[in-house]
């Protein structure tokens, strides 16, 4: 009798803990936010985070490491500039951060692994990484975790259970951006897809979504794909080559962000009428839209560099403050904006050769009201006090 009572009680405790576990993570998010996780990459971890009740290895001010994987394009430069020139002074004044140590691995996994381990050994409290190989860094992340250091990947994800991630849902973003462009030209026609870097995870995710959208329209044909490496100059060369060797009519160019200015230049140089091109933050192409308001009715924000960095930095400071991230990956939907609003911030004398970015700003990209849903004990990181 006693044994059966113990067994029954054990089962009840187990059931309660399982129910509790299943209520963690995504189930804690409001339905509207959880919807952003639909169709997410299979590999992206979206379970409960390992940092729900975590405390850092030291008190503030903290030292943050930025293990950058690349520094050779304007997107990376803008993200780094936001970190070093804008975020660091603000958080240093607030007494939260004393230093940001930046390393650069030039797309070499081995070097990035070495740098993460070195940053851990140097005594940093948290490490930010961006857009890296989703799997290769896992053991380095676990090494950091075992030493009380949190690793946060922004604008991409790592598959380690001990990593935290923040990004848009790129597969869904690719779908939304492609669908909007196809609808813009009447739901049919020939389309060119300008991807990022062949083999890069977020680039491939975007393409999967974009192809799904093209397949959804019977009259839409994908007539070509080129890779612009998220760099205007590369995208310009690739699109120029494509247009020069493919006389077929192109009704629209579906493009990943950070390269549409180069694509626009290629189209202008080809002498063709400028067809609609997906816009996602490049100021040069946005300037052309300002000068030609009938060109396209909308734009998107999928990975605004500075705002993505600020999202990651904001989230990592919250984690260090013990605010307890609920899920491993903070995912947000892509942000659609109408043309007039998109170009509103551009000056009259803007240039279509500009390499700047139009960004929605952190108040739109990751405001406190949105962040509050992702953390167990949310508070604006700059208003936080130790022991809170």
């Amino acid at each position: 009798m006693r044994r059966s009572l113990i067994a029954t009680a054990s089962i009840a405790v187990l059931a309660a803990s399982v129910a509790g576990a299943s209520a963690q993570g995504l189930d804690e998010l409001p339905a509207s936010i959880a919807a952003a996780y639909e169709g997410v990459d299979d590999g992206q971890p979206i379970g409960p985070s390992a940092y729900r009740e975590w405390t850092p290895r030291s008190e503030p001010p903290w030292t943050i490491g930025y293990a950058s994987s690349y520094a050779g394009n304007t997107w990376r430069a803008e993200a780094l500039s936001r970190l070093v020139d804008e975020l660091l002074p603000v958080y240093r004044d607030a007494g939260l951060v004393d230093e940001v140590i930046v390393t650069q691995s030039d797309l070499d996994d081995s070097r990035q692994i070495q740098q993460i381990r070195q940053l851990v050994d140097q005594g940093v409290d948290a490490i930010v990484v961006c857009c890296s190989n989703p799997v290769a860094l896992n053991r380095a992340v676990d090494y950091a975790y075992s030493h009380g250091v949190v690793v946060f990947s922004f604008s991409g994800y790592l598959t380690s259970d001990n990593a935290l991630n923040a990004s848009s849902n790129y597969a869904q973003g690719g779908y939304e951006i492609a669908r909007a462009l196809i609808e813009e030209v009447g739901g049919e026609g020939n389309f060119l897809l300008v991807s990022g870097i062949a083999g890069a995870a977020s680039s491939e995710s975007f393409d999967v979504g974009a192809r799904r959208a093209i397949e959804a329209f019977e009259g839409a044909d994908l007539v070509g794909q080129v890779w612009g490496n998220w760099t205007d100059q590369v995208a310009q060369t690739e699109v120029q080559t494509f247009l020069a060797t493919n006389p077929a009519r192109i009704d629209g160019i579906i493009a990943q962000g950070s390269q549409e200015t180069g694509i626009l230049r290629a189209v202008l140089q080809s002498g063709r009428d400028v067809m609609p091109i997906s816009l996602a933050g490049s100021a040069g192409a946005a300037c052309y839209l300002r000068q030609n308001p009938d060109w396209i009715s909308h734009a998107f924000q999928i990975w605004p560099p500075g705002d993505e960095m600020e999202l990651g930095f904001n989230a990592i400071i919250r984690t260090l403050q013990g605010q307890g991230p609920k899920v491993q990956s903070i995912l947000r939907p892509v942000y659609r904006v109408e043309a007039a609003d998109y170009v509103a911030s551009l000056p009259d004398d803007c240039s279509i050769d500009s390499t700047e970015y139009i960004q929605p700003g952190i108040d739109i990209w990751f405001p406190d009201s949105l962040a509050a849903h992702y953390f167990l004990n949310p508070v604006n990181p700059l208003e936080w006090t130790p022991g809170q």
Binding site: I101, T103, R139, A200, A201
Partner: protein, 324 residues
């Protein structure tokens, strides 16, 4: 005195001095690297580069300007197929993985050797074509980084135990090279690299020597791929791009002559270790928002300076060796 030591060391003088200087700098700037765990991590991270540099050494010694540009994508090819093909075939044991990796890398090297020997394509052109072919194939097999290495292999990635499989592979590779170096075929490779016509006229089996050089490269490339897969625990179709550049740099830094006939893995290993230490030292500085450019700039300057010194030392030692 110093000049005499430098002459005795020959082409090894510059990489040795550079490595010692970098070791001292690393000791000052990043002492954690020299703890037990730090060294374990260093061995783990540096092993693929060291073995890749070793792999291309016999091909360079074999002459005809034989720089194997395909080494990076080859290591990448074995890496992605270990995580994609082998699990599909139900093969995950250490014997299967090691056997497969070495076999595939040797097969590729045999293809290159046949192109060079029978189609008479210049080695650098053959390996450049191989670079492009394998880079494309890797992306077809694995469109983006992912997949999982067998558990026993992925566990190498912890890199917290110095006396582990990666260190044993390195030591085993050095022993293997030592045996290979003492074999008659290695002398044939050197003779062929120094002057192929004279070697042929002297009765050296040119075909056998070149095949042997490529097969030796295949063995070390296969081991490099296994170490790399253990390090990243997954497949990366893009890994080859940077690895080729680094391996060739380590080779040249180590004093192996691209003209053939001269060199050895001591120099290549020193070159690879020096490159690793450059990364460690540069990572210990905080260059802020110009870090990317400063790192590249410093890295390039160190390499160019070392290569110039290496060339100057080699020219001087040749001059000293020339009869009056």
């Amino acid at each position: 005195m110093l000049g005499r030591v430098a002459r005795r060391l020959g082409p090894l003088a510059v990489p040795l001095v550079l490595t010692v200087i970098l070791l001292v700098l690393a000791l000052i700037r990043s002492p954690q690297t020299f703890t037990y765990v730090g060294l374990a991590g260093a061995v783990l991270v540096a092993a693929p580069l060291i073995l890749s540099a070793v792999a291309i050494t016999p091909i360079a010694i074999a002459g005809r300007g034989g720089v194997d540009l395909s080494i990076g994508p080859l290591v990448g090819f074995v890496n992605v197929t270990i995580v994609v093909w082998l699990p599909a075939m139900g093969l995950a044991s250490p014997v299967a993985v090691f056997g497969y990796a070495i076999l595939m890398a040797c097969l590729w090297q045999l293809v290159l050797a046949c192109l060079i020997l029978y189609v008479r394509i210049s080695p650098i052109i053959a390996s450049l074509a191989g670079y492009m072919i394998l880079s494309g194939i890797n992306l077809v097999i694995l469109p983006r980084p992912g997949g999982f290495a067998p558990d026993w292999l992925a566990d190498w990635g912890w890199g917290t135990e110095l006396r582990g499989p990666v260190l044993y592979i390195l030591v085993g590779s050095f022993l293997l090279w030592f045996l290979f170096r003492r074999s008659p075929i290695f002398q044939h490779i050197r003779l062929m690299g120094a002057d192929e016509r004279t070697a042929y006229a002297s009765g050296v089996d040119i075909v056998g020597a070149r095949m042997a050089a490529h097969l030796a490269a295949g063995v070390f490339a296969g081991l490099a791929a296994v170490c790399l897969t253990g390090q990243i625990g997954s497949g990366n179709p893009l890994i080859g791009d940077t690895l080729t550049l680094q391996a060739v740099t380590a080779l040249v830094l180590g004093g192996t002559s691209l003209a053939g006939g001269r060199g050895g893995i001591t120099g290549s290993v020193l070159g690879a270790v020096a490159m690793y230490l450059v990364f460690v030292v540069l990572s210990s500085f905080n260059f802020g928002n110009v870090s990317g450019f400063m790192t590249q700039l410093c890295y390039g300057l160190i390499l160019v300076g070392s290569l110039l010194l290496s060339l100057a030392t080699t020219a001087r030692s040749r001059g000293a060796a020339r009869p009056a």
